[in-house]
């Protein structure tokens, strides 16, 4: 009974946090782009004259979307048109289930792992559900009965199936180093130290792996500079025929993807919830000296560290989105098949060689 309650509480907690963060991210994107372009950005929405630098904007947006006309193209496919946003939203949320957001929380004798699903096949789970994100886009493109939408859907299918290969292969090196697909074990290993002082984060083992993984993942999320399926200035994209809350779901799924991908970057390459030199009982510094902390403080520090890392990568992704222009289609494909893919295979070879030298 208690176990069930804890599992359900974790699921709800993670879901609500994700959705709330995604709502805040819509505001962050508008505000950050405004700052980068020397504008003020969203600052009009207020509650009883209270504005708090426009933070009520996401709420106003939500209410607006609820009351907008929900238009279905008369010659489109009504059932698939309704299904598409749901299919787009679902995998984005589900992927977070295998991401550990903290170590173990102890209350009395009760041990609660701070992760929704401790899966042995963690990384494969992410790849598998990452592959499902295509369908929302493709369904939307087809069911709208609009040539621009269809073009967007086709572009999305070609782009995402190509970059899936790159995402998968660029991480093989990291999996070889950690010897596991389970994300919480990966993060545990990143709590150790290399040479006695450097945190054993994935980025120090696999710098090339990260450089390949990062653009490939951004291409999977279909954001600028890889936003060909959307391509506002040329084809408007797969959600041309969507309005109201159905469009809202696509919009929301994109921001949830940003957050989930940021969580993945930090989990795989930047130690996840780990704080350098922080162990279960407190800080132990490599230059001598230690600082004991109660268990609850350690857990909160871990949660905080994970949150800060996610926030950093969200910031970085928005920064990239508002800095770079869009790739051309041939450039996009060339980057994947002749750039990232051979380098990823090279990375696997080098990693294998080094592992063979070290471990014999």
């Amino acid at each position: 009974m208690l176990e069930t309650a804890i599992i359900l509480a974790k699921i709800w907690g993670v879901l609500l946090t994700l959705v709330t963060l995604a709502a805040i991210m819509t505001w962050v994107e508008r505000k950050q782009s405004a700052v980068m372009q020397d504008r003020l950005g969203a600052n009009r929405a207020d509650v009883f004259g209270l504005r708090i630098i426009g933070l009520f904007q996401p709420m106003a947006d939500g209410i607006k979307m609820f009351f907008k006309e929900d238009f279905v193209p008369p010659k489109g496919d009504k059932f698939l048109h309704t299904l598409a946003p749901i299919v787009a939203f679902f995998p984005a949320v589900v992927i977070f289930a295998v991401v550990p957001f903290g170590d173990v929380l102890r209350i009395g004798t009760l041990e609660i792992p701070l992760q929704v699903a401790r899966l042995n096949i963690g990384y494969l789970f992410i790849l598998a559900f990452g592959g499902l994100t295509i369908y929302g886009t493709v369904l939307a493109g087809w069911s709208s009965n609009n040539k621009y939408s269809l073009l967007g859907g086709l572009r999305a299918a070609a782009q995402m199936i190509s970059y899936e290969v790159c995402v998968g292969l660029s991480l093989v090196g990291l999996i070889m180093v950690f010897g596991t697909l389970q994300l919480d074990l990966m993060v545990k290993q990143q709590g150790e130290l290399i040479f006695g002082f450097l945190p054993a984060w994935g980025i120090f083992y696999q710098p090339l792996g990260f450089l390949l993984f990062f653009p490939a993942v951004i291409a999977e999320t279909k954001r600028v500079p890889f936003d060909l399926p959307e391509g506002e200035s040329e084809i408007i994209g797969y959600y041309t025929e969507y309005s109201g809350l159905r469009f809202g779901l696509f919009y929301f799924a994109e921001f949830i993807e940003i957050i989930v991908m940021s969580a993945l970057f930090s989990t795989l390459f930047f130690g996840g919830y780990q704080v350098p030199y922080l162990y279960a009982d407190g800080f132990v510094f490599p230059w001598g000296g230690s600082w004991n902390l109660p268990h609850l403080v350690v857990v909160l520090l871990q949660l905080g560290s994970f949150f800060i890392k996610i926030a950093f990568f969200c910031w970085l992704q928005v920064l990239i989105r508002w800095t770079l222009p869009r790739f051309r289609y041939d450039q996009l494909m060339r980057l994947c098949w002749t750039g990232i893919l051979p380098l990823a295979v090279l990375n696997i070879l080098i990693t294998g060689g080094i592992l063979l030298l070290i471990k014999g």
Binding site: M1, E3, T4, L80, L119, N120, I121, L124, F125, L127, A128, F129, G130, G131, L132, I134, Y135, V138, L139, W142, L150, G153, L154, A157, A158, M160, I161, E164, L181
Partner: protein
């Protein structure tokens, strides 16, 4: 108690999803519906693999069939059915001849179904990834490598067929 009930509900949901969408795949008159329904069939089968404690197989099923092969099928359907306004024949041929291979497949499936002790395998519920990896690189290394060479050959062959011949390029 509640966990068991939830497990039961989820299991039957997967069963209904798999069988229901498979019926759409077979009986739908429009090929695009068949293709999209196949998405749910393959997803449901992956869910059933989880209930049989085959976690690696379930993830690979999603990764390879749903994420890869089905995308290509839908891509193909997109390009053939709608853009040119032509309809491709979607009715059935040779209904009675088809009975022979179908009966054969059903016989094999039933044989496997009754000859394996599913409950013993499913209740063991150990992660399978590590053992599978070891078996693939030791006992089954040769079949594994032969299969990959076959796939590579298919890949090169497909590229050779899809690319225009060199003498055609001059025109």
């Amino acid at each position: 108690m509640i966990i068991e009930l939830l497990t039961q509900i989820i299991f039957w949901a997967f069963v209904i999803l798999t069988v229901g969408s498979a019926i759409v795949v077979v009986f739908s008159k429009r090929i695009i519906y068949s293709a999209f329904a196949l998405l749910f069939t393959l997803f449901g089968v992956a869910g059933l693999y989880v209930f049989l404690a085959a976690d690696f197989l379930a993830a690979s099923q999603l990764l390879v069939y749903v994420g890869g092969i089905l995308t290509l099928i839908i891509f193909g359907v997109f390009l053939t059915t709608k853009l040119h306004g032509m309809s491709i024949p979607e009715q059935t041929h040779q209904r009675y001849l088809a009975i022979i291979p179908v009966a054969g497949i059903i016989a094999i499936l039933f044989y496997v179904f009754f000859s394996v002790d599913w409950f013993a395998h499913a209740s063991a519920a150990e992660p399978t990834t590590k053992d599978l990896g070891k078996l693939l690189l030791t006992t089954y290394l040769v079949p594994f490598e032969v299969a990959s060479v076959l796939l590579l050959a298919a890949l090169i062959g497909a590229m050779r067929l899809a690319r225009p011949r060199e003498e055609d390029q001059d025109d």
